[in-house]
Symmetry: D2
Subunit: 179 residues, 4 copies
């Protein structure tokens, strides 16, 4: 079974909640799922996973310094863990407050490690999507905010199953989805 | 009097509406304001303005090809118009759909021309701000979406008055604002 | 055999040359390779490919309007072609002139279509790499500039073989590479 | 006299050297210049300055976690220091290694604080510029790398003199420059 890590930093608990919903989405599939805060995770967890969703509060339009430090300190793994599949999620203080940019900063980090990164095309509610990662303003409360997190986890599990486990049948599931 | 250009591309009319609200904000101040679509504007308008707000629909997480073409074609002005003050606005199909990234792509273009670019720190409603430019999902309808556009125009006018016209008294207005 | 498309826009011919070198890299592997300019390519080519490398001159820190138009016009494929593997290359007028940002703008477009995108960790010369895509200043002439293009094509072919064709043996090749 | 802060983080000393050259450029003008590492600088320095150049090593395509922490911890100043003029510089391990993206991440932080940010249009050598900030690969050694840093400091001083000190005569200097 493929391994999926949901790694997050959270101060207010908003991003931690997002992480739980991302995990819910991933767990709909036959994959192993670990949900760990940046304080709990270690190099072993990074080595373990085939796919990863990284979440951070949006601080100044970027990931938090703590999440950045986690990856800066992981640099001896650099060049040895290429090819994992990655995605991002972030909670900002407000819409227009940088949550998309924070997701892109996370994807920038993951690309630097040689990961293949993705966003999700699906709309999960009226005028609500997750093209560059799941985003919320504050705590994820509205159904579409929660569903965006779940969908991110689902898609991560699907890509890992298709590409790492070679289960091409899930491609059909994606092709036949409602968007 | 300082000159402000609101330049926009619009297909559905959503970004055009944003442009009108940005202009409303700018017109609260003693500045000349032109609102022009990318089909109407010319090099003369770019040369004329001291400050500029550029708006585009969010297409694929970036400005539209038409707005890009406008600036690509303006390249003989490059290196001769440094120092103007610029900002961005964009309307996407949905939240999480790339409107912040589209604003950043516009700011990237403006920086390439040597402009000084900014976002706005103010919150204009509950969990709603415009840190990298004014953003909406679809037509600007909710009060905070409209106010974000207006605030962008106000701040653009203020910076132009302070920095180009040398009216430092407006710095106090910014410092004493509610955020 | 997996299909790889090298799609480029070029005005001066610099990006066209990069495209040829990217193709050279891809052709070291058992994959079908098409090299097409943005004027030659069609929707059928996008549907055909499993992996894609998109190249554009760096205009104003972003992809060219022509390349943007190509993808803006492809929007009826949106939501139907998720999961392809993509990467970027760009030639700017100078170092520090936006070629990395142009690569990121291309990756932003590809992510919007649901593609999995990547950069390359490898160093291909003294102080020369392609972490977010292959970049040059002007025509690719120096050995490391040429090798960066080739390496991009190689890695694209490798990921497509590993993930789309399920040939996991190529993972070993990547793991054992010199970096 | 206007105040300019050169704030940097440096591990190998490369970014520290860049900071010195940026300071050299700024000191050609009648401005006060402070050069401080992220370990030395305080809130008072941020409040003191009218213009700021922020430099960081390129770690994973972004600013270092230490520089990020500095600004994350500065958040009680947020909303109170809008309107300062800012720019960026960064040293990466290699060309194509993310130094432009690191500059953009610094500018993202500065924009979040309401600063007006800029790049420099000038070419400072053959195929060498600083459109989004001054960049080097490794230690700044080649004349164009050193000159890029100096030019950044000069332009920062010029914009601060023009916009903060109201010395419009420097606009002529910029307009008549060689590019």
């Amino acid at each position: 079974m493929a391994n999926i890590l949901i790694l997050y930093d959270s101060d207010t608990g908003h991003t931690a909640k997002m992480a739980e919903y991302v995990a819910e989405g991933a767990k709909k599939y036959s994959v192993n799922v670990r949900v760990l805060s940046v304080d709990e995770a270690s190099k072993e967890d990074i080595l373990w996973c085939d796919g990863i969703a990284v979440g951070s509060p949006t601080y100044l339009g970027l990931l938090s310094w703590k999440m950045k430090k986690f990856w800066d300190d992981m640099v001896d793994l650099w060049g040895k863990i290429d090819g994992k599949i990655g995605c991002a999620f972030s909670s900002s203080g407000g819409w227009g407050g940088g949550n998309e940019l924070a997701c892109m900063s996370i994807l920038t980090v993951l690309m630097n490690y040689g990961f293949l990164v993705f966003g999700v095309t699906d709309y999960v509610g009226d005028k609500f999507t997750l093209h560059y990662g799941a985003v919320t303003a504050g705590e994820p409360r509205r159904e579409e905010e929660i569903e965006a997190c779940r969908r991110l986890g689902e898609r991560l599990a699907q890509w890992v199953l298709i590409y790492v486990d070679g289960k091409k049948e899930y491609l059909e599931e994606i092709k036949n989805r409602e968007i």
